[in-house]
């Protein structure tokens, strides 16, 4: 049994799964569009949450938020299921596949055998779509990989029941009703409004552009406060959050710029193209931060690669992004 499902490779798992699932039901939507409407762009520096003893920085919204917002605004009905018993979870998946319904699953990346070894860490927020089964193997549309992948039942079961923070508990989801038409333009505006508000007006110092500035001020203190070794670990952790987890580059800033470009055409709002260009420039600046940070950690730092230089770049990222959101917000009123 294999469902006829168009697999389109994406940068990020959740926006990719969302776009591919909707596409399967005849809604023409790109990954960037799904990411934008789902208000995926974010920034948060959360030093009190530690991953492997290193502070958490996030460039994207909460897990599941993109899919939830998009399906709600489009008026799609979704069935979510969680399980206690792994065998029952697999049986439920089998039944839906037999019915010809592609099923989204939340999994832990560590147990998926088709992941390259260098990517195998315990992170429990990975989404994929199961589109078929051949005996003991499942056929999987994992949006961050170029082709369909195959995965043994026992591996998929382990991945669906990965433990630790944000354990997926066998979570699976599928669409049960898709309306004839969807309020596309209005949803684009909703998505933009949420991102702007979050980035500009979230209370506290750690979220949005304030968060970027807070992080910037911290970075230059790291070598003194933590010592060279630990400081360098903090920086590489930041680079990994920004680049490694399927962000499409520049901590999702390029993907969002692609969304703004598409939105400019859709809403006939040429102003958005200008902001898309500015977002691209902000993404380039984030990339520059990664280059300097990595060089610093390799001990190949020149004069311009110091922690003070990283602080300056991050401050400029914050300034540029703030300008974008301030101009973006009035366009969707």
């Amino acid at each position: 049994m294999k469902i006829d499902f168009e697999h389109r490779q994406s940068a990020h798992c959740e926006s990719g799964v969302t776009a591919n699932l909707l596409h399967h039901y005849g809604i023409d939507i790109s990954e960037a569009m799904a990411f934008g409407i789902g208000a995926g762009l974010f920034f948060g520096y959360l030093p009190f949450i530690k991953i492997n003893k290193l502070p958490l920085t996030t460039f994207r919204c909460e897990v599941g938020g993109i899919f939830k917002r998009l399906t709600r605004w489009f008026g799609l009905q979704v069935r979510w299921q969680k399980f206690r018993n792994p065998e029952k979870a697999m049986d439920a998946l089998d039944r839906k596949i037999e019915e010809g319904i592609p099923v989204g699953c939340r999994t832990g990346g560590y147990w998926l055998p088709y992941f390259p070894p260098a990517f195998r860490f315990h992170f429990n927020m990975h989404n994929l779509v199961v589109i078929g089964r051949e005996n003991d193997h499942y056929i999987i549309s994992d949006p961050v990989f170029p082709d369909l992948e195959r995965c043994h039942r026992k591996d998929l079961m382990k991945a669906r029941f990965a433990k630790g923070a944000m354990a997926p508990r066998g979570t699976m989801y599928y669409l049960t009703h898709v309306p004839e038409t969807v309020p596309f333009d209005q949803s684009v505006k909703n998505g933009i409004r949420i991102v702007c508000r979050r980035m500009l007006h979230t209370p506290g110092p750690l979220i949005g552009v304030k968060g970027i500035r807070y992080l910037a001020r911290q970075v230059k203190k790291w070598p003194e406060k933590l010592g060279q070794r630990k400081a360098s670990l903090y920086v590489t952790q930041l680079i990994r959050m920004q680049e490694e987890l399927g962000t499409g580059g520049g901590g999702f800033r390029f993907m969002y710029a692609a969304f703004l470009q598409e939105a400019a055409q859709r809403l006939q709002a040429p102003g958005l193209q200008d902001l898309s260009d500015k977002m691209t420039a902000a993404g380039d600046l984030w990339r520059e931060f990664a280059v300097i940070g990595a060089r610093n950690c390799k001990g190949r730092a020149g004069e311009n690669d110091s922690y003070a230089a990283m602080t300056r770049i991050l401050m400029e990222c914050a300034d540029r992004e703030e300008e974008i959101y301030r101009k973006l917000l009035p366009t969707v009123r």
């Binding site: 560590y110 260098a118 860490f121």
Partner: protein, 144 residues
């Protein structure tokens, strides 16, 4: 990022696959471009693995000197802490910590060992083996 700037510096991806980057073409339009990898990312990823490798070497030393049971090696090489391992096998944390003691581990019943063996997908009798040559072991399991 322009298409011409999409990095092609392999490191983490070893099998010729590509990951998606968003880049701008000559007309200023966004397109999806495949990337083989990027040096800053490779450096950051290497460093994460270096930590795991250090932990593994440290653990092997402790097992050889009789401070930890061989189970500790499987735990650490699977990037787990006693707390995470406990969740996976369904024992309490203090029980897993006890199993990390060589004296306790030696007396464990086969059914308990099987829980660990199933999780790590290894035969029960290899549970008590410590890798002889850690470097080849590392290059086999973890090094990208």
């Amino acid at each position: 990022m322009k298409i011409s700037e999409v990095p092609q510096q392999p490191g983490m991806i070893t099998d010729g696959r590509r990951e998606i980057c968003y880049a701008v073409d000559d007309d200023g339009n966004y397109v999806l471009a495949g990337s083989a990898g990027w040096e800053p990312k490779n450096i950051a990823n290497d460093q994460a693995w270096e930590i795991i490798r250090d932990q593994m070497q440290d653990t092997v030393r402790k097992i050889r000197s009789g401070k930890l049971s061989p189970l500790a090696f499987l735990m650490v090489s699977n990037q787990m802490t006693p707390a995470l391992l406990a969740q996976y096998v369904g024992f309490s944390r203090w029980r897993v910590r006890r199993h990390l003691k060589p004296s306790v581990f030696k007396k464990l019943k086969p059914e308990i060992l099987k829980r660990y063996a199933d999780l790590f997908d290894v035969p029960v009798d290899t549970l008590s083996k410590v890798p002889k040559d850690i470097e080849t072991m590392l290059s086999k399991t973890d090094t990208p």
